[in-house]
Every structure is written in structure tokens, then in C-alpha cells.
């Protein structure tokens, strides 16, 4: 078992390394941007890129370095020639700094000169809190709705719940939030229309969680509901539950003591998978509601072309996803003793 876990962790890190490397290279292959402006602006811009280590600056032409990005007007007969630093050279520098100094670089444009890891650490709390609240809301709500639907199987309650589930499971959280903000924020004015700043009172800040948590978890609520309903319906039709009833247990006792216990067993791996899904969903949602988390940061750093932040953010999302994947696999073994991880035949 221990060997299996270790192997999975090593593989996860290898996978993360490959994902980050491919991302780095693909992102760096994007066309080089130029500002609109005269020579003074162009020189200033390319000098800045030179200082940031993104371009080479020579006073002679170097065709072997590929496409010339910019040639400054001649001064004293000499121009500056700017070429992009080869992507693999940038990759080598980036990797060396991480391995030798655990230096993930600094922000270039988003928060100039601030360490990328610092920026992430300052924001990760918002995202984690948001997602934990979303799980805390979605799991019980989804389970309760699922149980209710199962208990009222093929009755009007079940039909309403099932229909609602089908509708809401199809709506992405970032679409849903627009409607929710419109109704509860602008029209009814019950809740904040955007994320309250840290300077706001405790009450206002707490109310700021309601809309994003609700929208982020709504898909999960539907998923849990559907899952639990299906599991419970299956268990309730099983023979051992019939046996329990014939032994004299009330319907409530049979469901609570036997049916629910078995139906809830597979939900834990599903919860872990859903958490990973929530992280992905929070990216756009954070942007729309103005939550200063790492999901929004991911989108912003892409827009800013602030790649050092992007790669740390990417590393966190990738690592979390892979580790949760391992946890999901391991959880099967804990929940169902019949499953043995890495056991030999």
C-alpha cells in the first residue's frame, strides 16, 4: 500500500512537471506583443522587455536569432536590434531557478516585482474558503434533496426535484451568477453585487459569500442529489431492506439504519472529485464577482501575459487536482475493504 501511494505521488509530480513544461512552452510561443507608439515608446518598451529578460538587445543584426522584433533608429550610426530570447532558453532559466533556488519568479506586469508565490499565497485563502463553504453547503443540501426525492420516488415531489436538477445541472455557475446578482443584488438589493472589500464590516463580508457559494455549489448540489437518489432507490429495492422491514423495522428505521448507510458509502470519492471541479468553476466566477482568489488571478495573469504568476497558479491547480485524484483512488480502499490498492494477484 505504502509503495503504491509513493508511486502514485511520484507519478503525479511527473505529470505536473510535464503539464507545466508543455504549458510554459506553448504559452511562450504566443506571438510577441508590441505597443502602439512612436520610436520613443518602442525603445522604452523593448528596453523594458530586455531588462525583464524576455528579449536580447544587440547593436548589430543577428539574423541567426530569428525574427527581428524591433530596430531602433540609428544613433551615431548604430541601432539597437531586439530579438526574442529563445523559448527553450527561457524554459531552462525558469526551471533552473525553481530547482536550485525554489524561485518561481516575480510578477512582471500584474504586481511588478512582487514574488509570484507571494501573490498566490495572498489570494489562495479566498479561493479555499470559498470552495470549502461551497462543499459544506452542497453536500448536505444535495444529500437531503436526494433522499427526499428517493423517498418520494415517482411522486410529484420527486418529479419537481428531478426536473430542477436536470435544469440546474446544465447551467454553468458563471451563467447562474449573472442571474442571481441581477435578482438578489440589483433588483431585491438583499445581497452585495460584488465581493465586499476586506475593509467592510464582518456582516457585509459574510453576506458576500452567499451568492458565490450558492452559485458555485449549485451544480454539485444537483449532482449529489441525483447520485444519492439513484443509490437510495436501488438500495431501497434490494432484498436485504425488504428483509429488514419483514423483521419488524419501521420504514424510517430501515432507511436510516440500512439503506442510507449503504447509499452514502460511495459519496466520499465523489465529493473529492467535485471539489476539484469546484476549483475549476471558481475561475470565471471569481472574475465575475470580483473575488480576489487564485481562480481570478489565473484569468488575469493570462490577460496580463504575466507568465510567472500563471505558472505558479497552474502548478497549484495541477498539483491539487492530481493529489485529490490520488486521494479519490485511496478513498475507495478505505470505504470498501474489498478494494485493495496495488495488491498483487
Amino acid at each position: 500500500m505504502g509503495k503504491y501511494v509513493l508511486k502514485r505521488i511520484v507519478l503525479a509530480f511527473m505529470m505536473a512537471f510535464i503539464i507545466l513544461s508543455v504549458t510554459f512552452i506553448l504559452v511562450k510561443l504566443l506571438p510577441f506583443e508590441r505597443p502602439i507608439g512612436g520610436d520613443a515608446q518602442q525603445i522604452a518598451y523593448f528596453d523594458k522587455q530586455f531588462h525583464l529578460g524576455y528579449v536580447f538587445r544587440f547593436n548589430v543584426e543577428k539574423p541567426e536569432l530569428g525574427r527581428l522584433l524591433y530596430k531602433s533608429p540609428a544613433d551615431h550610426g548604430v541601432s539597437n536590434y531586439y530579438y526574442q530570447v529563445p523559448v527553450f532558453q527561457q524554459y531552462g532559466n525558469w526551471l533552473r531557478n525553481i530547482i536550485t533556488k525554489w524561485d518561481w519568479g516575480v510578477s512582471k506586469t500584474y504586481m511588478p516585482n512582487v514574488a509570484a508565490s507571494t501573490i498566490i499565497m495572498k489570494r489562495i485563502g479566498y479561493t479555499i474558503r470559498l470552495n470549502i463553504f461551497a462543499v459544506l453547503f452542497s453536500v448536505p443540501t444535495g444529500i437531503l434533496l436526494g433522499i427526499w426525492a428517493a423517498l418520494k420516488k415517482n411522486k410529484i415531489t420527486d418529479h419537481i426535484i428531478s426536473t430542477m436538477v436536470m435544469v440546474f445541472i446544465s447551467i454553468p455557475s458563471f451563467v447562474l451568477i449573472s442571474f442571481v446578482i441581477r435578482i438578489f443584488g440589483y433588483d431585491l438589493q438583499w445581497l452585495p453585487t460584488s465581493w465586499p472589500p476586506d475593509s467592510a464590516s464582518w456582516g457585509v463580508r459574510a453576506s458576500g459569500y452567499i451568492i458565490p457559494v450558492f452559485c458555485l455549489s449549485f451544480g454539485s448540489v444537483c449532482y449529489y442529489c441525483r447520485y444519492i437518489r439513484a443509490e437510495l432507490c436501488e438500495v431501497m429495492e434490494s432484498e436485504y431492506l425488504l428483509l429488514a422491514r419483514t423483521k419488524g423495522l419501521t420504514r424510517r428505521q430501515a432507511i436510516v439504519r440500512h439503506a442510507l448507510k449503504n447509499a452514502l458509502v460511495p459519496i466520499f470519492p465523489v465529493m473529492l472529485s467535485e471539489f476539484i471541479g469546484l476549483l475549476g468553476g471558481s475561475m470565471v466566477l471569481e472574475q465575475l464577482y470580483g473575488i480576489p482568489g487564485i481562480g481570478k488571478l489565473f484569468v488575469l495573469s493570462l490577460g496580463y501575459k504575466d507568465y510567472d504568476i500563471l505558472f505558479v497558479d497552474m502548478a497549484i491547480f495541477t498539483t491539487m487536482s492530481l493529489l485529490f485524484g490520488i486521494l479519490v483512488d485511496l478513498s475507495y480502499g478505505f470505504i470498501d475493504p474489498r478494494i485493495r490498492m496495488g495488491a498483487k494477484k
Binding site: I36, I43, A44, D75, G77, Y110, V114
Partner: protein
């Protein structure tokens, strides 16, 4: 007898024939400008028999009317400035009109126009000599700008203007605006002159309830404008910055005044020796701690807080410039300041280039920035590279980038962290900024909010900026939802918002709504090149850019036809288009905020010169350049001409010839936002049955690149387009300088030419006449902005150089020649003083300088008429040394060049300068 009679009859017939068949008036005009008009004295001319009309889409008389209109328009364009040529030109115009009347076919009519055009050109002498109109009164310079603009509009190099980016904006009723009417170039004066009279209910922090609540889409992550290239940081930095001079609304609330802010007086000329109001060195008294001026910071950190209320020292003003210009500080705006041409400070570039490793006091001594105390007064003195008026001295030096800052504070917080966060984000811009402006940073919550509070130490704290603070919410939702800001405003969360397109009808007339003018006019820029011109500009050996054969762009003949382009312009219903988007319909090239008299706040758009320049675009239209009928008429004219020249062959109604035009846009969203409606305008106008009966069809296609700037760099600036959407904005206080971007000369336009097809240095391209002489656009542009050397009406350099590469001699030495030709020999004295040889890689010192070898063996032969031939020899040992390889690159020879130092006396000015040849090679044996 019969024979005699017959002979007499034949003789009579010949005489009669000779008398009756008087040749039409020779359209070739006289070149003598003093010739009196004679047309009115001549007897009635009988027209010759006309050839059959060969135009299919327009009647002959109608076509003639349009061509004659072109001739009349041309005459109207130049007649005010003709001087002695007036009579000859009038005669040429009348003769041309008559020749058009007598012409039969399309080709004949066009030839008649061409002859008349040439006759007009011949009648007006071209300018020769040196011209400088920079010091002319503003009214006269406005006239010249009008002449340049009319030329640009007529030749199509301004593109097809669509709209100005102004529009409608709503203010919370709790805001008292400085003025109810928008002041061009100033605004409503919300912060300096406005006030807030009620609390914002939504704000939960009691202290901020009367702050001005606005938003930014993104957190810029820094307030360090010195190292930022965008506009957002500039705005945010601007709240807390003060400058030497600023603008405040005038007493009548219809304009603004320039007011000393950190300065105590307007600049005083130091070296205006010729008393013309222009000079290079200006000085003015500045406020310091002696006057009670103090710094402010809200930092609670002891070391930073120690600077709060610290008096401003005189040397802090000088340090602000040194901070910017020291290259090792790696500040974006410093590089920009060092490399700028407009308002360049003497010695700034040399200092910047020489400070890659840190400050250099020796070089700083040559920079045109000085502070000193004289007679108990604190002075700031600036020396520009070129002479400036008092106003432009104020303008160039008024930037908030030059706000004073103590060196000790920058040393404490470091240049890297100045006005920003430190690497671990433990200090914020609150801790790392020290200001003297109207507000200071009170709180900075990254990605959430930036809060400013009123600075009690500000110079005008008692009389201006009554609003106690500014709350900037970072509102990223606005990036995803174009209505988000407006929704927040309506909910009472923000104090100001623009009105989105879909709410325009509902809120346009709301009492909270105000209209504003814009800062930029957006246009459809046109590639009007012929294949030959395109090849010259962008082909494999293009002068603008070099394009491989397989990537050649196919120029569209229709876009080279001015009538066709005019028809496109007339097809666009700008009023409907702009109204639907909350912007301002416009046919102008320059937006309303371009000030012809910035000191008095007079926009160029209200001048008579401008109105005359654009009258051709507005004639017989709805007032915004739209007339569907006229557009169709001009399409008929254009198709008639294009067919006559063989550019297009008509199809059939069932299978029409399709004319494809591609419009390149910035963003994919522009397809829905702009393209579809523009496409509809153009196709509706052209594809109407009445234009050509359906034998041609116009198809307008959409293009968008990966990045918004692709439309500039990958399309318009490299000729890979038919029509491209875009706009260039420049210095709004210098519209005469800004029209440089219309030039086809890349040195003048700074490589920002967006419309192609006209050589703007060709005085024959379309007549520009000023004070009786013909000019090219480039020549008159240079004359009005600085100094032009003009020959045959064209802009020229004082000297032209022709280098013949070095050739190896038998003894191992090398010989080369440089031929120098003076454009105006009578005004030129040339003397070469030395020649230096340099290997640019091997002898580069790393600080922008090079070790050079001075050649002593050279001759300079004066061949007369301004031609000088310099023959020089590089000794064998030097050549061998340079040919052995640079050792610093993979190139075995490195790049060897020559600097030819010379003294030039031109038109009374003397200068010592050099000409460089940068790429020659010695042969590696």
C-alpha cells in the same frame, strides 16, 4: 472659267473650313504666372463632333458634371493662396472645363481633366529654398494646418472617419460638477472644482461616504507611473501627483487656464536672444519648504512616516529627473523621456545611454535640468534641445512624472518598490509613496480597492479639490459584462458611468446624463496602392517593409479610385451608426480635443480652416457625410472609370463580377459591434440595382487577428490589407505636429502611416499651395513644424550621401569614397574634418560609446555645384586587425563602419556633425 470657278470655290471652302474649325482652347496652360486671362476675350468656340459615349452606368453629361466638379473643387482648394499665379490657374481651369465639355468618351474626359490638372500644376511655381513657419502667429499656422488637412482629406490619406469616441456619461445627482457643459480637453472639473453634497448610502465606511466612488476594471498592481506604459496607472498616479503647471477651469466655466502649481510663476526665457518668444532655456521659481510645501504619506511604518510633513527641498525637483533618466533604474518613462523627440531635454539621451551602470555626475552636468537659488529665490531651469515657446515649455515640463521626491525616500523604499509593493507584499503603495498632489493613498487592498484621501499639504488644498477622497473599486466584472458598471451606477454604488449601447434610448435624455467629446476618431484606413506602388513600398525590396513574393497583397483597383473611396464614405450613415453606440458621428481626422490654441483651450475642430478642409466630405450630405444617392452616383462614376481603364470586366446579372473588399478589425467582437452594420451600409449602397444593374456585386469581408494590435502591425503598417479599422492618437495640444502620421515618409510618420497610395513628398500628387508656391505635404509639414529644405517643392535633406564600399588595394590597404551633394548649393558650406573607422562589436565600450580609429589619409574634392567627393584609405594593418574577427559574435568580420565628421554651414546655421556608414566589411583572407 469653270476651272477657275471650281478653284475659287475650293479656295473658299478651305478658308471657310480653316475659319470654322478653330481648334479647341489648348488646355495646356501657360507657365507664366503673370499671364492675364484671355478666355473671356475669345469668340465662341464651336465644339468638334463628339465620339460615342462609352460609359454604361452614367450619362455623359452627368459624368462630365462630376469631373468638372472635381476641377472646380481643386480650384477652390488652392485659389486663396495662388498669389501671382491666380490668373494663369483660372485660365487653366476654364480651359479645362471647356475641354471636358468638348470631350466625347470617358477616356477623353479624363484626359481633359488630366491636362487641366497638369496645366494648373505648371502654372504655379514650386517652392525652392529653406522655409520655417514655426514662429508664425497661431492663426496663420491654423491656416496651414487647414491646407494640409484639405489635401489629406481629398487624397484619402485620412481614411474614412466613422466616429469620435465621446458619448454620454451619467453622474450621481449627489455630485456637483464643476461645470454643466463639457469643456473640451478638460472635462466637467469633477475633482478640482466639483463637490459632493450627500452621502453615498451604499458605502459602509462612514469616513468614505462622501468620497468620489469610481471603478477600474483591473488592479494595476502598482501606482508607479514612472515605470508603466498604460493609461490606468497614469490616472491613479495623477490623483496624488502635482506638477509644475496644471489646468483649472476659467472664471466663466467655459474653458481652462494654465496655472503654476509647483511653480510660482510661468516660465521666463533665459536665452531668447532674438526676442521672438522662443528659446531653448527657460526658468521659473518653484515652491519648496520655504513656501510651506510639504510631502505627505499615510504609511504607519516609522521609517516612512518620518517623511510625512517633510519640507520639499529644491534638489528634490532635480532628483526626480535624475531618477527617471538613470538607465540602471530601468524606468519605462525614463527611456521614453530620453528618446523622445518632442520637447527633448538637452543631454538627456546622452545621460540615459551612459548610465546603464548607475548615476553619472559628469554626464548629469550636461543635462538641461538645473536647480539653484538666486537672490533668495529657488529656481528650476530647463534647457530643451530645440527652441520652445513659453507655452510649450510649460506643456513639456508639466508632466506629473516630474513631481519632486527626496533621494533619501527612494533609497529607503528602493526604485523597484517606489509607489508599488515590495517583493513579499509586506509594504504597499501606501508605504512606498510620498506625494505633494491633491490626494494621497489612504488604503490599497490588492485586487479590491484603492482609496485616496485629500492631502492637506497640497498647494491649493483650501481652494480646489473639495471632494474629501476617491474610492476606486477594482471591478473585474466589467471586463466580462459591458453593462456591469452601468448596473452598479444605477444601483447607486458608483458615482459615474458611461451608458451602454442597449440603454442609450432609455437614458440619453435622463437628467443625470451629460454628453462629452472624445479623444480619438476611429476610421477605416484605406490601402489605395496600385500593384506597382505596393511593390515599391512593401515588395521584396520594399522601402517600408520587405515581403516575400508569396505573401504579396493583391491591391484592389477600386480602392485606388478616389471616386470609389468617396462613394464608400458617402455610403456610411454615421449618425445612425454613432447614435446607436453612444459615440459622436464624425468625418474629421482630428478629434475635438486637439487644440489649435491649447493655451486658450480652442479646439481645431471649431476653426474655419478645418471647416473648409472637410467641406468636400459634407457637401450635399446629411451633415455627417452620408448621402445614399450621392454614394450611388459616385459608384457609377467610379465603375465607369474602372471599366474604361480595364480594371474590371462586368459580369451578368445572374453571374455578377464580385468585388471583394476585406475590412480588418481589432477584436472578434467587432464583427457584431461594427462590421456587420458597416458591411450593410456599403453593400446596400453599391449592390442597388440602380448602380450597375447587378453586373457587379460588392462583398465586404471580415478579418480579425490573434491580438488587437495585429490590425496595425500585421495589416495596415505593412500593406497587407484593403481597409483597416483603427486610430492613432497623439499629442492633443499639438495637432500640427500630429498630422505627421499622415505622411508616407516613415521617418516623418514614425512608421505610423495607415493609409497608403499617395506619395506625400510628391508636390504633383495633389496641389498644396501656400503663399503662391506649390509644396509637397511633407515639405509644408516640416516647414510649419520646424524647418524644411525644399527643392522642386519636395522636402529634402540639406545633404545627400552616396557611399561606395571599400575596395582592397594591392598593399592590403582599403579605399572607399563618399560623394556628398548639397541640396541648395548656394546656402551650403561643407567641410569634412575627420573620418573614423570602427568595428562596432569589437570596440564597443558597453556604455553607448565606441573606440574608433581615426583615418588621416583622406581627400575631399569640391567638384562644384555643391558636390564633394571624399576619398579615404584604411591602412593595411588596421584593415588586417579588423578583418581578424570581432571575437564577440559568431560573425567572423563583425560590422565595420565609418563615421565622417564634418562641419556644415547651412542657411546661416553652423553645426559639426557626422554621417555614418554602419555595415561594411574587410575581407577575411
Amino acid at each position: 472659267m469653270k476651272k477657275t470657278l471650281a478653284l475659287l470655290m475650293v479656295l473658299a471652302m478651305v478658308v471657310a473650313l480653316l475659319a470654322g474649325c478653330k481648334t479647341p482652347v489648348d488646355p495646356t496652360p501657360t507657365t507664366n504666372p503673370t499671364t492675364e486671362p484671355t478666355v473671356t476675350d475669345e469668340p465662341e468656340v464651336t465644339p468638334p463632333p463628339m465620339a460615342d459615349w462609352d460609359g454604361k452606368y452614367i450619362e455623359r453629361d452627368d459624368y462630365k458634371a462630376y469631373i468638372k466638379h472635381d476641377l472646380d473643387f481643386l480650384y477652390a482648394t488652392i485659389k486663396d493662396q495662388l498669389g501671382d499665379s491666380a490668373a494663369a490657374v483660372e485660365a487653366a481651369v476654364q480651359a479645362g472645363a471647356q475641354a471636358i465639355d468638348f470631350a466625347g468618351t470617358v477616356a477623353e474626359i479624363r484626359a481633359a481633366y488630366a491636362n487641366a490638372y497638369q496645366a494648373i500644376l505648371d502654372a504655379i511655381p514650386t517652392y525652392e529654398g529653406v522655409a520655417t513657419y514655426k514662429k508664425l502667429p497661431n492663426s496663420e499656422r491654423t491656416t496651414i494646418l487647414g491646407i494640409l488637412e484639405r489635401y489629406a482629406v481629398t487624397t484619402g490619406i485620412t481614411g474614412i472617419s466613422l466616429f469620435e469616441n465621446g458619448g454620454y456619461v451619467m453622474y450621481n445627482p449627489r455630485i456637483t460638477l464643476g461645470t454643466e457643459n463639457f469643456i473640451v480637453g478638460y472635462g466637467f472639473g469633477v475633482l478640482p472644482e466639483g463637490n459632493i453634497t450627500e452621502d453615498l448610502e451604499y458605502e459602509t465606511n462612514e469616513a468614505w461616504k462622501r468620497y468620489y466612488h469610481i471603478e477600474e476594471h483591473d488592479d494595476p498592481g502598482t501606482l508607479n507611473y514612472l515605470n508603466d506604459q498604460g493609461a490606468v496607472v497614469g490616472d491613479l498616479y495623477g490623483y496624488m501627483a502635482a506638477s509644475f503647471f496644471t489646468n483649472f477651469m476659467n472664471a466663466t466655466k467655459d474653458g481652462y487656464d494654465w496655472v503654476p502649481e509647483l511653480a510660482k510663476e510661468k516660465p521666463v526665457a533665459v536665452n531668447d536672444d532674438d526676442a521672438d518668444g522662443m528659446c531653448t532655456t527657460w526658468r521659473f521659481e518653484v515652491r519648496t519648504g520655504d513656501d510651506g510645501l510639504k510631502y505627505t504619506t499615510a504609511s504607519q511604518m516609522a521609517d516612512r512616516a518620518a517623511f510625512n510633513n517633510r519640507p520639499v527641498a529644491l534638489e528634490d525637483y532635480e532628483y526626480a529627473f535624475k531618477l527617471l533618466l538613470t538607465q540602471s533604474n530601468q524606468l519605462y518613462r525614463g527611456s521614453e523621456l530620453a528618446n523622445t523627440k518632442s520637447g527633448a531635454i538637452a543631454g538627456a539621451k546622452a545621460y540615459y545611454d551612459g548610465t546603464a551602470e548607475g548615476e553619472n555626475e559628469e554626464l548629469w552636468a550636461n543635462v538641461g535640468i538645473k536647480t539653484y537659488n538666486e537672490g533668495g529665490k529657488n529656481y528650476f531651469e530647463v534647457t530643451f534641445k530645440e527652441e520652445q515657446t513659453q507655452f510649450y515649455c510649460m506643456y513639456y515640463i508639466a508632466s506629473s512624472l516630474y513631481m519632486p521626491i527626496p533621494k533619501e525616500f527612494v533609497d529607503l523604499v528602493t526604485v523597484t518598490n517606489y509607489c508599488g509593493f515590495d517583493k513579499n507584499a509586506t509594504t504597499t503603495p501606501v508605504d512606498n509613496s510620498l506625494v505633494v498632489g491633491p490626494y494621497y493613498v489612504e488604503r490599497y487592498d490588492a485586487d479590491q480597492q484603492i482609496v485616496y484621501a485629500k492631502n492637506p499639504n497640497y498647494v491649493f488644498a483650501d481652494t480646489k479639490y473639495a471632494i474629501p477622497g476617491i474610492h476606486v473599486k477594482i471591478f473585474t466584472a466589467a471586463k466580462e459584462d459591458t453593462n456591469a458598471v452601468f448596473n452598479e451606477f444605477i444601483a447607486g454604488h458608483f458615482d459615474v458611468a458611461g451608458i451602454p449601447q442597449e440603454y442609450l434610448n432609455e437614458y440619453r435624455n435622463d437628467p443625470r446624463t451629460r454628453s462629452t467629446t472624445g479623444t480619438s476618431n476611429f476610421k477605416l484606413n484605406v490601402n489605395a496602392t496600385s500593384p506597382e506602388t505596393w511593390e515599391y513600398l512593401f515588395g521584396e525590396e520594399g522601402v517600408v517593409t520587405q515581403t516575400p513574393k508569396e505573401d504579396y497583397w493583391e491591391s484592389k483597383p477600386c480602392l485606388a479610385n478616389r471616386h470609389f473611396v468617396k462613394a464608400l464614405s458617402l455610403s456610411i450613415d454615421r449618425l445612425t451608426f454613432a447614435n446607436a453606440r453612444g459615440s459622436i458621428p464624425s468625418v474629421d481626422y482630428l478629434a475635438s480635443n486637439y487644440m489649435i490654441d491649447p493655451e486658450n483651450g480652442i479646439s481645431y475642430s471649431v476653426t474655419e480652416a478645418h471647416k473648409k478642409a472637410v467641406e468636400g466630405l459634407l457637401e450635399d450630405t446629411d451633415g455627417y457625410g452620408f448621402s445614399l444617392e450621392l454614394a450611388r452616383e459616385y459608384f457609377r462614376v467610379a465603375l465607369t472609370e474602372l471599366e474604361a481603364e480595364g480594371a474590371y470586366t462586368p459580369g451578368t446579372k445572374e453571374n455578377p463580377t464580385v468585388i471583394h473588399i476585406e475590412i480588418a478589425w481589432m477584436y472578434p467582437t467587432h464583427e457584431e459591434l461594427y462590421h456587420n452594420e458597416i458591411k450593410n451600409f456599403l453593400e446596400t449602397a453599391f449592390n442597388d440595382e440602380s448602380v450597375c444593374g447587378g453586373v457587379y456585386q460588392l462583398s465586404v469581408d471580415f478579418w480579425v487577428g490573434n491580438d488587437w494590435s495585429d490590425v496595425y502591425y500585421n495589416k495596415m503598417m505593412v500593406g497587407q490589407f484593403d481597409i483597416g479599422f483603427g486610430s492613432i492618437s497623439g499629442n492633443s495640444l499639438d495637432p500640427i505636429g500630429f498630422v505627421s502620421v499622415l505622411s508616407s515618409d516613415q521617418e516623418i510618420s514614425g512608421s505610423f502611416t495607415l493609409n497608403w497610395g499617395v506619395d506625400t513628398n510628391d508636390p504633383d500628387a495633389y496641389p498644396i499651395v501656400y503663399e503662391g508656391y506649390r509644396w509637397s505635404f511633407d515639405a509644408l509639414y516640416n516647414a510649419v513644424n520646424s524647418k524644411a529644405i525644399v527643392a522642386q517643392g519636395q522636402n529634402k535633406a540639406s545633404l545627400t550621401f552616396e557611399y561606395t564600399p571599400i575596395v582592397k588595394n594591392d598593399d592590403g590597404s582599403y579605399t572607399g569614397t563618399l560623394t556628398v551633394k548639397a541640396t541648395l548649393p548656394d546656402l551650403t558650406k561643407f567641410n569634412v574634418t575627420s573620418i573614423a573607422c570602427c568595428n562596432y562589436e569589437r570596440y564597443y565600450n558597453g556604455d553607448g560609446t565606441y573606440d574608433e580609429f581615426e583615418l588621416t589619409d583622406f581627400t575631399c574634392e569640391d567638384q562644384g555645384n555643391g558636390v564633394y567627393v571624399i576619398t579615404f584609405t584604411v591602412p593595411a594593418d588596421i584593415a588586417a586587425d579588423y578583418a581578424t574577427g570581432s571575437g564577440t559574435s559568431e560573425n567572423p568580420t563583425g560590422y565595420t563602419g565609418f563615421d565622417f565628421y564634418y562641419d556644415l554651414e547651412f542657411d546661416g546655421d553652423t553645426q559639426s556633425t557626422y554621417y555614418s556608414v554602419s555595415e561594411d566589411h574587410f575581407i577575411v583572407d
